[in-house]
Subunit: 328 residues, 2 copies
Amino acid sequence: MSETSYRIDALQYANWSEKIFRQMRDGKVDAVHVTISYHENFRETIANIEQWNGHFERYPDLIFQGKTGDDVRLARETNRTAIFYGFQNPSPMEDDIRLIEILHTLGVRFMQLTYNNQSLLATGCYEKNDTGITRMGKEVIEEMNRVGLVVDMSHSAERSTLEAMELSSRPIVITHANPAFWEPALRNKSDSVLKALAQSKGMLGFSLYPHHLKGKGDCTLRSFCEMIAAAADMMGIDHIGLGSDLCQDQPDSVVEWMRVGRWTKKIDYGEGSAKHAGFPPMPAWFNDNRDFGNIEQGLIDVGFKPEDTAKIMGNNWLRFFDENFGTL
Amino acid sequence: MSETSYRIDALQYANWSEKIFRQMRDGKVDAVHVTISYHENFRETIANIEQWNGHFERYPDLIFQGKTGDDVRLARETNRTAIFYGFQNPSPMEDDIRLIEILHTLGVRFMQLTYNNQSLLATGCYEKNDTGITRMGKEVIEEMNRVGLVVDMSHSAERSTLEAMELSSRPIVITHANPAFWEPALRNKSDSVLKALAQSKGMLGFSLYPHHLKGKGDCTLRSFCEMIAAAADMMGIDHIGLGSDLCQDQPDSVVEWMRVGRWTKKIDYGEGSAKHAGFPPMPAWFNDNRDFGNIEQGLIDVGFKPEDTAKIMGNNWLRFFDENFGTL
């Protein structure tokens, strides 16, 4: 008898609706880490949690709030999807280190130390100068370690990312990015980051966001899965999973909020451009939560064994959840 | 072998310190419902919770946050005091019904619908006209019932209190007040309120606040315990406990915040007066948490059997906690 194979997506940010929750079920997705705040402050983040509480009240047969690894198992047993909260930016904790414990108590499990720009804590990947983890950043990492809120460096600059691994007493993650050796996007990660991440028992979630893919929306499933095989050769099989960055049904105004927040009055196009300001088209083989089966098949087709395929599809993330969401 | 006898105080609001936490241990107090907000709004209440998290981090051998009845048992087993959060006013939920679930997730277990004045939800005991539970009040009671946040009507007016019992699908409480038949203070409760409370399986916590006592600070232990015996005759033995209203080591500025908040620019003396604006002296037999043994002895001395004494000292509250802090 083989071990259960879980399906976990370590990042989505959709215009949530019953349709999408049903697609999660159709795609047999046991757990999703959802972004609940980009640039929101604490009170705005509470409003976002309130909105999720409304979803949980309204669709109890489809979704519930996940707080521990066991909730992923419960999701599987009850044919639902466990929703785990995260932030792409430390803005919800404002300048108040004690909000970390408050937010963890409310179920937040991942927080990026930066989103593209310099934050109070670290440097983002779009800054010219990367000064590493700040004084407050060190304190925040220690507090996140204590309560079990996972440090996510997906949008951080290289030095900051490496320093975060060094400083953190618990493994950190890059929930959604790909290796730069495959596609040299600014958001994709260098060999040294990937190797250090694996060595420190962290996790990388492979992204399906077109700007992170070789050939963008034209990227083939085969190329994507071969990239995963190459990453597994470099990082080992235990430190990789999926983090699709699926951003479904969002109007352009939300894409603008993601990129611009309140930090500029001008338009910033992020990984897009003035010509292609909106959300880029997804690859044909991954449009929404129903398509995780395609990736699973793609992994098998490039030669992954069933056990290793299961690790990539969710079992590695589940082990990580088990070990890192609790108080020290 | 007799059943364990727990000691639970259903209301205190002190200037918290290591000294007081040690006095709780000296007094063998297993659990205390502490007021964490009087007139604070949501964000200010979060700051108060942060302060408590600081206490829990600093004094883990003395106190921890209680969320369920089992935490009272854990407190006894580990020789600590479980601290349960409550509000004397609905101000922390502002005008936002979904904050109720957020606050319950953060561990809040009691909320008064009013503090002396009219609120968005009900009428306070110092208002001239009592219009009962408001439209929003009805919605809020339903939501509090759903999540397991207990309705406390200690500072509410009579009609509002009776309507709350009627509307609430779960029992409500008066955490800190005495029968008006003993001492006709405005804050003490009529026979009809007490009888309806017992009939609806609610709980009354007897107050040691001098303005609620016959003879104020000169009240004798015997008189206090005879009052409890008379209340037990009226209400039955299962719906009474203690709610000392102990307000220890607070400067007068805090007493003023309790009474005045931000609702007036003038001074309001609450149950005091211009001549006696500060906090009145406590009775000699109850100065702080170390004195619960005096009350226990006083109850035995007026003829309560050991089992009934245990019910009053905490076992009734524990049963109530077990039944009313969970989601429906």
